[in-house]
Symmetry: C2
Subunit: 114 residues, 2 copies
DNA sequence: TCGTTAATTAACGGATGCGTTAAACATAGA
DNA sequence: TCTATGTTTAACGCATCCGTTAATTAACGA
């Protein structure tokens, strides 16, 4: 399961190696070998991670000769952030906490009234 | 593996049922049965999802009689967002795209110079 | 054409994730 | 104390994830 876009994105971000790859790509495009270099895992493993990132839309890839260059595509990060934004009110310092409290109380009251 | 905090958080968010539970909790605390109601899965399955969310720190739980109430804890969402913020420059409209372009070019040049 | 380099695919193994049903546990209340 | 209700734990099955090594594909370049 987990075919919806957000799930695919979050799942892709749930691996530290993949987040490391994204961090590297934030500094500029890189080949598979370059991306693999900081990690103590095999090249095929990196290749799979890249496929996951590509499937999530987090990177795009191009080939030039025998090198395959990856570049960061931030769009999915924007989507994921947009989803989290819905909860920003719950932690944002500028948020009126009283309002949240009242809404919680209200929800509980409604529940008991059933 | 995947023991680091961010991985646990992202993994918890990678399931649509769990995101649905969080959305429900944003409206106020709820019991396990209440949380399970919108979903076509068994109660034990919901119970496991809650355990995952709790382990990620996304919810806190309290018991009152035989009911176990869950409440949203937004802290991990703040952490996850903070991580993504590092990439905001790549998609934010207010960002000077030329700067990003120059940094990419620069990185590629450095690589070729090796 | 042959060898080298870059990367992927194939085949496998072990761990984890997510669902189920059945059983157990915890508390309230007659 | 017995029963009903809410929730968790146990035990299982199946799919997916993540890693490995070996083999394969693709392109360059002497």
């Amino acid at each position: 399961m987990a075919e919806d876009r957000l799930s695919v994105i979050f799942a892709a971000l749930a691996d530290p190696t993949r987040r490391g790859i994204l961090a590297r790509l934030a500094e500029g495009d890189a080949t598979v070998s370059e991306l693999a270099e900081p990690f103590a895992i095999s090249l095929p493993a990196i290749s799979r991670h890249l496929k996951v990132l590509e499937h999530a839309g987090l990177i795009t890839r191009s080939r030039s000769a025998q090198w395959r260059s990856s570049s960061l595509n931030p769009e999915p990060l924007r989507e994921a952030t947009a989803w989290m934004e819905r909860y920003r009110q719950f932690w944002d310092a500028n948020f009126d906490r009283l309002d949240a409290h009242l809404r919680r109380i209200q929800a509980q009251t409604e529940r008991k009234d059933r």
